[in-house]
């Protein structure tokens, strides 16, 4: 009995004695008390919530040491490991955590689509619902400021740069031939289905040190992560058909997409300005396989594309024109693994392989070009905390290019094998949620010309209030010459550009304003002394130039109910001496003023979204042979009003209709002048106009599987 008493007594005393009170106050960075903070001892039920004065006090039976945690959403967790008895009168300093809405973004130069961050200008649906874009993601990007509308080409022309100056990456690896080749005034389209990509980030300058061998711009596409539902998608279009399927098993999934387009029936119905011998047809097949590992995600993307067309190319000097035929086969594969090595280390490796076979026939001349290319990249990221990160990586490009020209029974063979080796490192520092810096450095060894180039990249951003911020960027950029040029002169050096960018961003309540001024200095641009690059051209790096301008963007989803619109305006002042230019001049692809208005209106009663887009570009420079000088005249302006209508029949079916250039404006892209003057001493000219006055598109899309929402395909 005595024993029992003593035990109980001991127990009670130890209980009473062990009741320790933990107390203190939680303050933020401005020393203001924080209310509602969860303060507790890890591994116990003991804890409380701070009061209005940020104070807390609770008792615990724990003795010896413990870990005190203070956590509250919007703040970084606070951990204190110490003796319980010392946890009295504590002063805990709380640090606000960084998140997508409260933190400054390094926005100079870049646009992103598909997230809720401050810098995001486009929503995922915009890529396919912008009138005039007709499901081509590049079409939607052309409504952003900083791009010059070249409706006869279809590729991206950024800030006075040629189309080749924009490089495209999928899951971090370079795409070597992103566009199907075309000719004359027939615009090309991206080879890739917009539905397979989740995040799109488009930079018009000043981009990260991670991206090399790109002079003006990069477009980064990320394939969708793990899908959550299986589905089959069927599309029937006025131009062809589309079939897609997604399967999921265990930790694996695969998405397939195939599309066949043939313009022959369409050309029968709608008169074309070109005389087609064989209307454009293409077959694109894509597959994305994903496997979820415990600590990362593996993705394999693969795409095959075939296209051909033939037409009679008009020529001012050849009355009957001449035959032009084109056939292209392209394979692109990309393997990517992205995962964690530990809590703070992240690894990303990617490998892309490309094979492109292009056969061109011009009258009796045949040009066959084969390109095999590889890009391997290895990247590590170390995250010290939310405020400090370091990226580093190495990459290798290998290119094998061969060109056979068959001319009146003679064959000329040329080609080049070359490589580029790059390494980069970049630090991202957030001093606070209102001030951030990024500093990077990359080095590239260009094997063909035996040149080593160093490119520093810097950017900074500061917020002046929760909705506005300024940011600046500087960078030095290099890009090697195109393969069909470099093959004639290995010594050609990479071209160079320096970007200086100042950006202002305002975003509040679904309204956004963005203004960006830039200056870009070009150096070591390619020059030659013949009409086009050929084996006997004198090639050198004597060219230079500049581009300066202002880009404005305004988007408003709020002011008018159910209306979403954006307005872009770009002013561009650029001159360069490159290619075979005798003097410094504004290239024909660079227009002084570009304007776009994109509107989308949702009509609830009709379950329809109607959209209209208006594009305007001031006249393009061309050389008027009847006047003296070079690029001495300008065409009339380009204007196009586009319209689209998407009708949601139900959750599985959608009907889509669009017309480009509704008003049928006769846009002129340039003129071809005769080589010889007529009897009056005048040079005759041929107008290079649009492929067709208007473009009609009708499509029916059906998703089977689950009870899927057709908004996905809108």
């Amino acid at each position: 009995m005595k024993t029992l008493f003593s035990i109980i007594f001991l127990l009670i005393t130890s209980f009473t004695f062990a009741q320790t009170t933990i107390s203190g106050i939680v303050l933020d960075e401005e020393k203001q008390p924080v209310m509602g903070v969860n303060v507790y001892l890890e591994g116990t039920y003991d804890g409380t919530t701070t009061d209005m004065d940020g104070k807390f006090s609770f008792s615990t039976e724990e003795t010896s040491t413990g870990i005190l945690i203070a956590s509250y959403i919007g703040y970084e967790d606070y951990r204190l490991e110490s003796l319980i008895v010392d946890m009295v009168g504590l002063k805990l300093r709380f640090r606000e955590s960084l998140n997508a809405l409260n933190t400054v973004v390094l926005s100079a130069g870049s646009f992103s689509a598909g997230d809720s961050s401050k810098a995001s200008v486009l929503k995922p649906l915009d890529i396919v619902t912008t009138a005039g874009a007709v499901g081509d993601f590049v079409g939607a990007l052309q409504t952003l400021p900083g791009t010059s509308n070249n409706a006869d080409d279809g590729r991206l022309f950024v800030r006075g740069g040629s189309a080749e100056e924009t490089q495209i990456f999928i899951d971090g690896a370079r795409v070597f031939r992103p566009f199907t080749p075309t000719t004359g005034n027939i615009p090309t389209r991206g080879r890739f289905s917009p539905f397979l990509f989740d995040g799109i980030s488009f930079s018009t300058g000043g981009y990260s040190a991670e991206y090399g061998d790109a002079l003006s711009s990069v477009l980064l596409l990320n394939t969708n992560d793990v899908p959550k539902e299986e589905k089959t998608e069927i599309g029937i279009m006025s131009l062809g058909a589309n079939l897609g399927n997604t399967k999921i098993w265990g930790k694996n999934s695969i998405s397939l997409n195939a599309q066949y387009i043939n313009l022959a029936p369409y050309n029968e119905l709608v008169p074309q300005n070109n005389q087609f011998e064989k209307p454009y047809q293409s077959l694109n097949a894509e597959a994305v396989f994903r496997h979820q590992f415990d600590k990362g995600l593996f993705k394999a993307y693969s795409a095959y594309s075939y296209s051909d067309l033939a037409l009679i190319q008009e020529d001012v000097d050849v009355e009957e024109g001449f035959y032009f035929g084109l056939r292209n086969r392209n394979y692109y594969g990309n393997l990517n693994y992205n995962g964690y090595l530990s809590d703070s280390w992240n690894i990303e490796t990617s490998l892309s392989l490309a094979h492109d076979n292009n056969n061109m026939t011009i009258e009796t001349t045949k040009i066959d070009a084969v390109e095999n290319a590889l890009h391997a990249k290895f990247k590590l990221q170390k995250r010290y905390n939310n405020y400090f990160k370091i990226n580093m990586g190495v990459e290798q490009f290998l290119i094998n290019y061969k060109e056979d020209v068959l001319m009146e029974n003679d064959t000329f063979e040329t080609g080049i094998n070359h490589g580029i080796t790059g390494a980069f490192t970049e630090a991202e520092v957030f001093v606070s949620k209102d001030l951030a810096f990024k500093a990077g450095l990359r080095g590239d060894y260009y094997g063909a010309s035996d040149q080593f180039k160093v490119s520093p990249r810097l950017s900074a951003a500061v917020s002046i209030n929760p909705s506005s911020q300024f940011s600046l960027a500087y960078g030095n950029f290099y890009q090697s010459a195109q393969n069909n040029v470099q093959q004639y002169d290995k010594e050609l050096q990479p071209e160079n550009a320096q970007h200086y960018i100042a950006n202002f961003l305002y975003k509040k309540n679904d309204r956004m304003f963005r203004a960006e001024a830039y200056y870009k200095k070009y150096d070591q641009l390619l020059t030659y002394d013949t009409t086009r690059v050929q084996f006997d051209s004198y090639l050198s790096n004597d060219g230079d130039g500049y581009a300066a301008g202002l880009d404005l963007f305004w988007r408003d989803e709020k002011s008018i109910k159910n209306l979403d619109y954006w307005v872009s305006y770009s002013y561009l002042d650029t001159q360069r001496q490159f290619r075979n230019y005798p003097v410094e001049a504004t290239p024909s692809f660079a227009t002084d003023h570009n304007f776009s208005l994109v509107t989308k209106y949702w009509i609830e009663d009709l379950q329809s979204q109607i959209g209209a887009t208006f594009n305007y570009s001031s006249g393009r420079p061309f050389t008027n042979a009847n006047k003296t000088g070079f690029l001495n005249d300008k065409t009339s302006s380009f204007q196009s009003l586009n319209f689209n209508w998407a009708y949601l029949i139900d959750q599985q079916k959608i009907l889509y209709f669009s017309v480009s250039n509704v008003l049928g404006r006769d846009n002129v892209f340039g003129y071809q002048y005769s080589d010889t003057p007529d009897v009056q001493g005048q040079f005759n000219r041929r107008t290079i106009g649009q492929a067709a006055d208007r473009f009609f598109f009708v499509g029916f899309f059906w998703t089977i599987g689950g009870s899927d929402n057709q908004l996905d395909n809108l």
């Binding site: 009995m1 024993t3 029992l4 035990i7 127990l11 509602g36 969860n38 507790y40 890890e42 591994g43 116990t44 039920y45 003991d46 804890g47 919530t49 945690i69 956590s71 959403i73 919007g74 998140n99 997508a100 809405l101 409260n102 598909g114 997230d115 809720s116 929503k123 995922p124 649906l125 959550k228 539902e229 299986e230 589905k231 989803e557 979403d564 609830e604 009663d605 379950q607 949601l648 139900d650 959750q651 689950g706 009870s707 899927d708 929402n709 908004l711 996905d712 809108l714």
Partner: protein, 204 residues
């Protein structure tokens, strides 16, 4: 003999105290849910940190944050609350795989995201949400929360497309009957009847 008895009694008392510690903490959390979602969430968070093998504290912490993210909070606050809810759902899922109760929470949280920014998340999450509810109903065809929340989600979509919602009213009625017959066991989820009754009003 006496010593053994003493030890046994002591042992039981101790375990009982430990048991009731968890029970007390959970009860307190459930009581707080009626008045203060944030305090309730924090209470469950503390329990979750102490109960490393039990999915229920994280489940309730997630539920508090989901319910707390509806309404007219500032956008930033809503975003943080939703992220917090997702963390708790992930924690709960790690402890209890293929649990239809947790799937319901994920479906509800997706709906919050879609409300938050429909142009971004409507496209991303609507298919996924359908898939989650379909999976949940396959596993638990007689669970009133699964039936009722799935039906409410489908009613929302139908309304969006201007379709008839009556096909789902039968489901709501079925859920209400099941709610009425539901016998709560321990701290297992037993909420959801009032939501079903609200949905029923729309049917009438």
């Amino acid at each position: 003999m006496r010593t053994i008895a003493t030890t046994l009694i002591l042992f039981f008392t101790l375990t009982l105290t430990a048991q009731s510690g968890y029970e007390k903490a959970m009860k307190k959390g459930l009581e707080l849910m009626q008045t203060d979602l944030q305090a309730a969430s924090q209470q469950f968070e503390r329990v979750a940190k102490a109960e490393k093998e039990n999915w229920l504290p994280s489940y309730y912490a997630a539920l508090c944050n989901i319910n707390g993210s509806w309404g007219n909070n500032p956008k930033e606050q809503t975003l943080l609350t939703m992220n917090k809810a997702q963390e708790f759902i992930n924690d709960a899922e790690l402890l209890s795989e293929n649990n239809p109760e947790i799937m319901v929470l994920q479906g509800m949280l997706n709906t919050c995201w879609i409300q938050y920014d429909s142009r971004v998340y409507g496209m991303k999450l609507s298919g996924e949400t359908n898939a989650i509810y379909e999976k949940a109903i396959q596993i638990a065809p007689e669970n009133p929360r699964v039936i009722s929340n799935r039906a409410r989600w489908l009613m929302g979509s139908a309304k969006f497309f201007g379709k008839d919602i009556t096909p789902y009213c039968g489901e709501i009625d079925k859920a209400i009957t099941l709610f009425e017959n539901e016998k709560p066991t321990g701290f297992n989820p037993s909420w959801g009847k009032s939501g079903a009754l609200d949905a029923k009003k729309e049917c009438e």
